[in-house]
Symmetry: C2
Subunit: 595 residues, 2 copies
Amino acid sequence: MDKEQITPVEGLSALSLDALTSVAYGPEAIIVVLALAGAGSLHLVLPITGAIVALLAILVFSYRQVIDAYPGGGGAYAVSRANLGAGFSLVAGAALIVDYTLTVSVSIAAGVGALTSAFPSLTSATVPICLAILAVITVLNLRGLGASARAFLLPTMLFIVGLLAVIAVGLIHPLGLKESLPGRSLLQTHGLQVVSVLLILKAFSAGCSALTGVEAIANGVPLFREPRVKRAKRTEMMLGLILGAMLLGLAVLARRWHIGPRSNQTVLSQIMGMAVGRHWAYYVVSLTITVVLALAANTSFGGLPILASLLARDNYLPHVFGLRGDRQVFNSGIWVLAVLSGGLLVAVGGNTNEMIPLFAIGVFTGFTLSQTGLVVHWWRTRPARWRRRAVINGGGAVVTGIATIIFLISKFEQGAWIVVIAVPAFVLLFVRIHTYYVKVALELGVGTVPAKPAGKRTLVIVPVSNMSQLTRFAISEALSLSPDVIAISVRTDRTEGEHELSDDLVQEWTQWNPGPPLRILRTEYSSIVEPICAFIDKERHEGDRQIVVLIPMVVASRWRYRLLHNQIDLVLSSALRKHADVIVARVQMPLDTPV
Amino acid sequence: MDKEQITPVEGLSALSLDALTSVAYGPEAIIVVLALAGAGSLHLVLPITGAIVALLAILVFSYRQVIDAYPGGGGAYAVSRANLGAGFSLVAGAALIVDYTLTVSVSIAAGVGALTSAFPSLTSATVPICLAILAVITVLNLRGLGASARAFLLPTMLFIVGLLAVIAVGLIHPLGLKESLPGRSLLQTHGLQVVSVLLILKAFSAGCSALTGVEAIANGVPLFREPRVKRAKRTEMMLGLILGAMLLGLAVLARRWHIGPRSNQTVLSQIMGMAVGRHWAYYVVSLTITVVLALAANTSFGGLPILASLLARDNYLPHVFGLRGDRQVFNSGIWVLAVLSGGLLVAVGGNTNEMIPLFAIGVFTGFTLSQTGLVVHWWRTRPARWRRRAVINGGGAVVTGIATIIFLISKFEQGAWIVVIAVPAFVLLFVRIHTYYVKVALELGVGTVPAKPAGKRTLVIVPVSNMSQLTRFAISEALSLSPDVIAISVRTDRTEGEHELSDDLVQEWTQWNPGPPLRILRTEYSSIVEPICAFIDKERHEGDRQIVVLIPMVVASRWRYRLLHNQIDLVLSSALRKHADVIVARVQMPLDTPV
């Protein structure tokens, strides 16, 4: 993201959408779990939401301290690397990768859920719509249009104001509109489970998916206008207040109206329908929710490359990810994320609730590591009031750590095992890449001062195929590199048999008389690489010379014409890879032939 | 294919499998059409086969003359290009591409048909088995094992001897074995169509699919041992006799035993079952048929690259196809053919008869163009007895031309329209590619003698990232190219802020003191391309110098490690494409770090 120097309000749209839009799936996740124990347990939605909002308050205060401590942007990876060591930071990095993928999938699925609740006839097309939204986001990001934070401002404000207004209307008229709702109730008439502690813990951990994304503001501090820290902390507080108000308001309404899960109707859609009726306000807010959830998915596409570049800088991912400013590289990251989350969406059939068990674990692992890292940070640096600060973060770490363990235990069979496999697998990959880079650095003697460099005499070999401006261009450039230049041209048996091209070129060469000699190489097969490599090999062994192979190529004006050119370059450079002492160079001549 | 110098018998296995194996689908194609008019019309199989065998005789004599005229290998493309001009040759080329694709699909589908007839329980897996066989052929060809003609000898002989023996046994005991056959009869009890001229023409044209492949020997004359022409003509004659005998024998038996189409039982399988019973001999010959049909599909994988290289040499396909001796290039042709024919197999569900209407048209278009071209050839060259020769080829051209028109009319609705679209589409593609190449040649002044080349002073720019053996290697090679060398290193804001790497490298450089200076380029974003391109641009405009960008890269010991290196090379060379006057060169240093 460019350094746009955003204000707190803009910060909400740029960095908090993931967190704010969690209201679309968090309360529902609680109610889906409670419904297993029948209608009688639905009243528990309020105390459980209360506990989650309390946890939110702890997290908000914790992350305001993270902003203080890491004004340069303190993601879980950076904080745990600085304070807890490489091992923990890798766990944080792996958890974040899982988290980014799930944010994309869950947000899109929930957005489509809002859409199909409003328009039930679209339900059968859930997965195609999910994939279409993913495709649009992917294309926008590939074109570099994904990061225009200011474009997010209007839908975000519409979402916040609209949803708060709907909740307020619902709270004012206590009975709700008794409109008939589409879909059928999924509530168990006879509870399948008793209301046990485990059930409450399950409902709590499912609801904690509403807290995903509250860390994003702390990661993005450098984006804020000065005074950065102050503005970022204010934004974090605003996020906490708005999200807390939404969650509590929805919980009160859900309890009052005995909202249970329904087929083809999200809990949020039911509440909105009861509050304002399925009229224009309902449809406007529903569509806004779909849009902001898509935008929330979009923010992951901005976040993953930043994480990958940090990991790459520390030698845990291929160095290429460090070049995230280069479009080509950035694009490969986008493709990876799109394929992973698209696969996940197809696997779960676009069902948000299937992904919730996987979601919170990665996020809460990151929370716990960040908070713990901060405690170490305060203890080490000991600024004013460090004890109080350490207690706040320590409290956050303990609570989120316990929550993580609850998630793992209560959701293991529902999918959490996938995370338990994926995170260590990523860590192993990071470690193997790191080991490799260390060995390579050793072999290359990185950081040790090597012997003095020394130049040699140079022979430039130019493969040519005909007499043209390109040939002149290439021979000129070759003569710039060295006075020793040889042009070579390959003839297959067939062309030799016909005596056309070969003779022409030799005659024209003599007539041209450019200085460098032309050698014709003969071959039985239609391979150009073999004879050229053989010729180079022979020259390599004749004396201590630097060999340069200068491949003339044309650069076509349009992409589709590139297929018609330059494959000799590709084939030859790949064949010459094994010759360390040969420099492979390309002369590029642009064409502007349109057809 | 290598120059293996084959004998006539080997020639049968290397070049005639496509033609010989047509007996697996040709007779069936006739009977399927006749069955539409009920059992009463089945006796027509014999006269129609007679007509087809007569056409075969004409083709064999015609192609023996093609061998005389084009001992260098006279494919329809080459012959029509030499005698009828570019336009007709493009039609021939397009028809041949369609033909190669269909040969692969039809042969595999017919081979699987033989297999499922022998083992009816495999019927439901028809498409997967087809694709598995296609995959095996593709992999063998990708590995360069597709062209070992001598490995084909044993199955080919087993097929010829086995099938002729089965037919002989059937002819000897006139009643046939009255065993119960698997599958149910697909014969219409009340004919849907009357036995009209159109029906007979349809049956004839369907049966002509049995003649596909008789041209292959004439294309492969250079493969034969000397005296080539004589041996090739003998092989063509052998092919004609064997194929004619098989077709007539099968037709006699089919008529005698009133063979009609059955579900899950090919006509050939029914005849073999009646002749020798479903015992070991039946199973051996059935499996042999599957094998030789797969081998027949395999020969297309050898044929298409040759055709593509001819088209590329004449500027009708991308020049890259001319390099068929280079594995990389050859492999892309194999992939194209595998995907096309695999798609076709899936589209028709592995059903041979669905592809028959498409098949013969391309082949017979080629026949007609070859024969017509030969007439022109005889008329132009006028060797001894040229009139007689012209009459033979002219007769062939007229007959196959009429047959082509019959196919087009009688099968248009059954799929022939696809060919009617595909062939012109290919021709259009060829023409557009040719137009493009002509314009490019004009722009490049190909064939005109250009001005004298002249060298310039050269500045070598070497991007480095740290101090290592690779850096020394690159600076040494740079000094070989010119005494003017500048090393550059890019620092992002972030690394600058930490003051680690940057200072280290500058200090080490001073200590090393290699001669060339080191310039540190600063950038705000994590892009390495932008600052380097900006630096190069600045240097380009300072005086008339040749700029060389020398990119140091390491070559990893294993493929999977390549992902960890050298992306700077890719990103940078693609960014420098637009600078025609900059030479992009690579220094490649091999690593042997194992992990």
